[in-house]
Symmetry: C2
């Protein structure tokens, strides 16, 4: 029985369509009831779908064009028609699929999603999410690059969207929310961040707001949702990736620096495999542009089958959750209190 | 023979004065010719100085008061007189010492340094540095928190100061400089960052400017100097610290997860000790508020003797270098071309 249909860009990513199809096969093992609309060149997909035994759950939507990984968003938008990416997003817009996934060009996917799905009522700016591994599990950080900045009201909207998102994808009933700042004290930080904190503390938004968090608190898992502007969030995310790579390189060097070290690494093999699993970026793959009338998950372009399956799982979780309704309700609360605040100030 | 006198806040930091004195003893082994003005409570210092055999190179400047680690900068400034921190900075101002070091309250030290040493001519805002471990060695990142933001001209000044700083402390003849952004393409990023890039590319400042770098490029060692505003730099630095701590925890868990893993870790001991050395924050301890008429190094408050010795070494390197003159010359170049640009635009 099919409980869900997802829209998949079969041609997006560095190793499409192989990694995409392998990912779907992998995900079928975890969640057999999902069906797929597979967008891309039929001629390049039929054999791969068949050989992986996916014919019964995949409907191929033939699209001749592929958005190149380095195309500028504006140019990709102009030539959107006929691409697998546009078709993937359109199926979500039309309601033929409950959510979409693409590992293609990030800027193009954001632009097409914005154009096709439009912003939800009450959202001033959509925000891009990243799932972040922490000492306690996982956290969601947003915005990680959909915008360059954010004012207080937009940060509050990100908090509302991020909180619902964390509940949907992590299954936490009451996710905790923190605002990224450079100190924990009330008087520290940029005006927008301080004002957003005041709004989150004082308005009745039903959010478990924990105040300011600092950069080191993200990986420590101090909160489930970290809210920041797109510039800061993007720098933080990439800085963390670079640091993790640096430390991994050090560890590899340490464990291959001498014959004795190599023997040691062999004995510690099981523990080190756990380490590799924990450090595996595939396990946290998938970002979503929140705040649109529909869900399209962006998978990392260089991900493997496991990572693509993770992104598909994210789409399925969101599609099955009350995320959209919750955000709509949350934003209404923000909006209503705006009006209340205005009438008081008059 | 004494070639250099440094001014040391003996009472600053979580474990003062012990860690401070141990650090000086350690540094004496590396650089015997340095003398110290030691600011703090004479009664608490005499015995410790003597027991470490430092009496001949330390002159104690008795100061009864200590700035508390959690005092607000404004309150610390009001009660500055009589504190070991103020006395440390004053000795640099008066020329009795070539540079200063304190592991005390960061905000208070920045405020006192600003007040006593004043900004260099041509500097609009001072910037705080951090030394960052990279795949290729070390990089300097600035500003990591002296300011909340920075306009284009200020970012250019940070680049000039950071470049001279990297030459002085790393001994690189021609340090490479990058601007932190969220993409490598010219058209990406906030206006201030894009304009700063244009200035650094087009003005003849004698700087090896490599364009934009992203968060992951810092740890990869793509450039020697990473320029950003204080908010972004502080978040990036703390995010990297958190990530490094997370990965270290994972590694520790991996190597103690079973008896076999523990034996493996024992065999790989030498390699893992190298790893610990590389990951040791003490080896990159010490930040400097650049752009003042004098050098005061901020050591981490929780550092150990080795870390304090690193900070003292940083102060010695800067004091022995042409850093101050170089920055003055560099800033004159920036300033002159401002005027030139203005007269052209008229």
């Amino acid at each position: 029985m099919s409980d869900l249909t997802l829209s998949i860009d079969a041609m997006g990513g560095d190793s499409a369509p192989e990694v995409v199809l392998d990912g779907l096969k992998l995900f079928r093992g975890m969640s057999p009831g999902v069906r797929y609309l597979l967008h891309g060149r039929q001629s390049e997909l039929v054999a791969g779908v068949a050989s992986r035994g996916l014919t019964d759950i995949c409907e191929i939507c033939n699209q001749p064009e592929v958005v190149s990984m380095n195309a500028k968003p504006s140019s990709a938008l102009r030539k959107a028609k006929g691409t697998s990416m546009w078709s993937t997003v359109e199926a979500v817009k039309d309601g033929r699929a409950a959510a979409g996934v693409s590992a293609g060009n990030t800027g193009a996917l954001m632009a097409m999603s914005m154009l096709a799905l439009r912003k939800m009522e009450g959202v001033h700016r959509p925000a891009m999410t990243a799932v972040w591994p922490t000492l306690k599990g996982r956290a969601v950080v947003l915005d990680v690059g959909a915008n360059l900045d954010a004012d207080a009201e937009q940060l509050v909207e990100f908090a509302v969207m991020g909180e619902s998102y964390a509940r949907a994808v992590f299954g936490i009933e009451k996710p905790t929310v923190g605002l990224l700042n450079i100190g924990a004290e009330d008087e520290k930080g940029p005006d927008a961040v301080k004002l957003a904190s005041e709004i989150l503390r004082t308005r009745d938004l039903g959010i478990e707001f924990k105040g300011f968090v600092e950069g080191n608190d993200i990986s420590m898992g101090e909160v489930d949702v970290v809210v920041t502007d797109g510039f800061t969030g993007n720098v933080a995310l990439k800085t963390a990736e670079g640091t993790a790579r640096l430390v991994s390189t050090y560890v590899r060097q340490a464990l291959t620096s001498s014959p004795l070290s190599k023997v040691g690494a062999l004995l510690a093999k099981r523990g080190l495999m756990d380490l590799r699993t924990k450090m595996n970026p595939s396990s946290v793959n998938g970002g979503v542009l929140l705040g649109l009338n529909g869900v399209v998950v962006k998978s990392h372009g260089g991900t493997d089958a496991e990572g693509f399956a993770t992104a598909v799982g994210l789409a399925a979780n969101l599609a099955r959750s009350n995320y959209m309704q919750e955000v709509a309700t949350g934003l209404t609360r923000v909006g209503r209190q705006d009006i209340a605040a205005e009438s008081v100030s008059k």
